[in-house]
Symmetry: C2
Subunit: 399 residues, 2 copies
C-alpha cells in the first residue's frame, strides 16, 4: 500500500515512543515516575459526573454540529468574566483542543503555505500542519534566553510570501512561558502589519502562577477579525478523557468554513458536552486550589533541578510543563538508559525527550520536557533519581 506524502511526513508521539521499554522496566520491578505525559492526577470536578449520570434521555442522539447550546452558553458566560462578549456563532465546540487546531489548520493552510511557531512547540502541531500540506517555520529560541520569542527582530525576518499565520501557545507547552500584555500586543501588531492569522492556543489559561488576571488574545479588539482562539476543557478541569474543545473567533467567515468540518463529522460527543457545560459552573475556589497545588509542584521541581550541577532551567510562569537542558549527550539515549540500565532506590524517571519539540533539525537533543502533574512527594523522588542518574550516566557532559 502506498501512503500519502503528508502522512509519511508525520511522526508517532514522542511522549509515547518509550512505552514498550517502560513496560519492560515495570515488569522488572522498577517504579517509574512519569513526567512524560500531561495527564494530571487532580480529580475531575464532581459536577461533570453528576451531569452525565443525570442525563435522562433514552436515545443518545446527535447534538448540533457546532456544539450543544448549554455548552455554548456556559462558554459565553465564562468569557464575559474576561470582558470578552461572544455571540453564539463565534464559538464552535470540537472534539478536544486537538480537533479545534486541526480544523483551523485545514481552513487556512494549503500546500506550501507556512505557519510560524515558536520552538520548542507541542509536537502534535506538526501533524495538524503537515496533513494540510503546509509547513511549520520555527521561531528559534534558546534555553539560555528562557525560550523567549516575542521579539519583532526575531519574528519579522521569518515572514515571507508563503506565511499565512502565527501559532502560539500561551501559557506555553512545553516551556511554561507566559506572555506579558506587551508581548501579546506586539504579536497582534505583527499579525496585523503582515496580514497574518493569529492562532492562540490558550488551553492552559488558568495555570498562571504570578498573577490572578486571566488573559486572552480575544481581548485585542482591533485584531478581532484575524484572531482564532483554541480552547479546551481537558486541562482546565482535569478532564482529559472528555474530548471537548473550542474554536473561537469573531471572524464569522472563518467560523462558517470551520462549520463545514463540524458538520462533516456530525457532532462531537453528546455526553462529554453535557458534562463540560456543567464544569463551567465550578467556581474560582476550585481554580485557586488547583493553581496553588501546581505552583507548589513547580517549586519542588525547579528547586530539585537547580541543585543538580549542569542543569539549565527557567522557572516556568504557567501551564504545568518545563523544558530543562541537561548535561548529557542525548536525551533519547539517556531515556533508554534510564529505563533499561538504571535505578535508584527501586525507581526511575520518564521525560519527553526534547528533539521532537523542535522544528529545526539537531536542536533540543540535550533537553527534556517535564510535566509536573504528579504529587509533590513523587516529584521530590523523581528529582533525586535524576540527580543520581546524571552523576552515573556514561554520556554525561560534565564530571
Amino acid at each position: 500500500m502506498r501512503f500519502s506524502k503528508k502522512i509519511l511526513s508525520c511522526e508517532l508521539s514522542p511522549m509515547r515512543k518509550f512505552h514498550p521499554l517502560a513496560v519492560k522496566a515495570e515488569e522488572a520491578g522498577k517504579k517509574i515516575y512519569h513526567l512524560n505525559i500531561g495527564q494530571p492526577d487532580i480529580e475531575t470536578p464532581k459536577a461533570f459526573f453528576d451531569a452525565v449520570r443525570n442525563f435522562d434521555s433514552s436515545v443518545l442522539a446527535y447534538c448540533p454540529s457546532g456544539g450543544m447550546l448549554d455548552l455554548i452558553h456556559a462558554v459565553q458566560g465564562y468569557y464575559e468574566k474576561l470582558n470578552v462578549h461572544l455571540k453564539e456563532e463565534e464559538i464552535e465546540a470540537t472534539t478536544g483542543g486537538s480537533e479545534a487546531l486541526s480544523m483551523v489548520m485545514n481552513c487556512i493552510l494549503d500546500d506550501g503555505d507556512e505557519i510560524l511557531v515558536p520552538e520548542p512547540f507541542y509536537p502534535n502541531y506538526a501533524t495538524f500542519v503537515n496533513v494540510t500540506g503546509g509547513h511549520i517555520r520555527p521561531i528559534p529560541t534558546t534555553p539560555e534566553e528562557g525560550y523567549h520569542y516575542a521579539d519583532r527582530e526575531r519574528i519579522e525576518p521569518l515572514i515571507n510570501e508563503h506565511t499565512r499565520a502565527i501559532l502560539i501557545t500561551n501559557p506555553g507547552n512545553p516551556t511554561g512561558s507566559v506572555l506579558t500584555r506587551e508581548e501579546m500586543r506586539l504579536l497582534a501588531d505583527i499579525a496585523k502589519e503582515h496580514d497574518l492569522v493569529l492562532v492562540s492556543d490558550e488551553v492552559y489559561r488558568e495555570f498562571v502562577y504570578e498573577t490572578e488576571e486571566l488573559s486572552t488574545m480575544l481581548q485585542f479588539e482591533d485584531v478581532a477579525d484575524r484572531v482564532v482562539v483554541v480552547d479546551s476543557v481537558s486541562k482546565r478541569f482535569s478532564a482529559c478523557g472528555a474530548r471537548v474543545g473550542l474554536v473561537i473567533s469573531r471572524n464569522l467567515e472563518l467560523m462558517n468554513q470551520a462549520m463545514k468540518l463540524c458538520q462533516s463529522r456530525l457532532c462531537s460527543a453528546t455526553l462529554d458536552q453535557v458534562g463540560a457545560a456543567a464544569l463551567y459552573s465550578v467556581d474560582s475556589t476550585y481554580f485557586h486550589a488547583v493553581r496553588d497545588e501546581y505552583r507548589r509542584r513547580r517549586d519542588v521541581v525547579v528547586e530539585g533541578l537547580r541543585k543538580i550541577p549542569g542543569v539549565l532551567c527557567e522557572c516556568p510562569k504557567g501551564a504545568f510543563y518545563l523544558m530543562a537542558k541537561l548535561p548529557i549527550d542525548n536525551a533519547d539515549k539517556f531515556q533508554k538508559w534510564l529505563l533499561n540500565d538504571f535505578e535508584y532506590e527501586g525507581g526511575t524517571v520518564m521525560f519527553a525527550p526534547g528533539e521532537s519539540f523542535y522544528g529545526t533539525p539537531g536542536k533540543g537533543c540535550d533537553e527534556v520536557r517535564m510535566a509536573y502533574v504528579i504529587c509533590q512527594e513523587d516529584l521530590k523522588k523523581a528529582m533525586k533519581i535524576l540527580d543520581a542518574a546524571i552523576r552515573t550516566y556514561p554520556g554525561r557532559t560534565i564530571q
Copy 2:
C-alpha cells in the same frame, strides 16, 4: 482572511441547509415530518448508560490513543462471530465513523489523487476527500437501474494513473443497496488487479432485510492487505451521540500510519468508549427487534411511494435510507416550497435533496434521500403529505 482552496471546495451539509426554513415553518404551527436526517428514534440499549453511570474513577483520564482495551476486545469478539479473527493492533477506535474515514483518506490520498465512489454517495465523503487535496471520481448509476454499480464495465474505464482507492458503503447510504457476495468478490478482484485500496464503510452492517447473514469485506482473505473497513457504534446501537468508530485493517503499515493521527488527537472520548464496550454485550434479540422495526418502516415508505404517480424508487435491501426520483422540476425548490408554501392536515415533510449526493454536476436534481427513522404512523402521514404535495406543486412534471 484568506481560506485554503481545500476548505473552499467543501460544502455545508445538505441535510442541514433547510434548518432555518424549518424553524420558521414550525413557528408558523406546521408539524414537520423529518425524513432528512439519519437520527433514529430507537432507544439506545440500557447497557451503555449503565456502564457510563458505573464509571467510578475520580479522574476522567485519557485512554490509549488507539482505543480502550475493553472496547478493542469487545470488537474482536464481535468479529469472531463473522469468522474474522482480528489482532488488537488491527483495530483502532476513532471518534465516530467520520474520523475513521477522515484518517483513512489522510493516510492514502495526496493532492491530485483520485478515489472512486459510486454515486449517489454520502455527501460528507466529499469533505473528507477534498481536505486531503484528492478528488472523488464518481461511479455513475441511475435510479432506473436501481443505483447498481458493481460492474466491471462500469468501474474499470474510470481507473487511471491517479486512482488510489475505491470507497464503497455497504449497506448503502443513501440508496439502501446491499452488495451480493459475488459483487463483493468482484470489487475485491478489481482492487487487486489495479493495485487499489478498498475502503468499505460498513456502519449499517446489521440493517439488512433479506438475509440473516452478516458480511464484511474483511472476509476476503486474499485482499486482506488492501482492505480497510470503517465501522461505528452510532447506527448499530442507535447511539449516534456516542462518537465511537473504528478503523480496521490487516495492513499493519496502514494501521501504523493511522496511529500517527490517533496519537496526534491523544484519544477519543473515554466515557463513550466505556459505554461502547458495554454495547457489544447486547445480544442478537436486540438486532432482530430493531431490524424488524426498520423493515416494517421501509415497507410503509415503499408502499406509500409506489402509490404516488410518477415516483420511481427501488425497494432498499439495507440501511434505513432510500433514494426516490420524484416527478418534480427540482428537489431544492420543492423542499423550499414544502416548508414555506404548503401544508396538508397541518403538516409538511423534509427530505435531503438529491443533488449533493452526486459528484457529477446536474445529476440528482429530481431525487431525494429519505431516512425512515421515525415511527410507522408518522411515516404513513409523511407519505400522504408527499402525495398531496406532488399533486399541488407548481413545478410537478406530470399532470
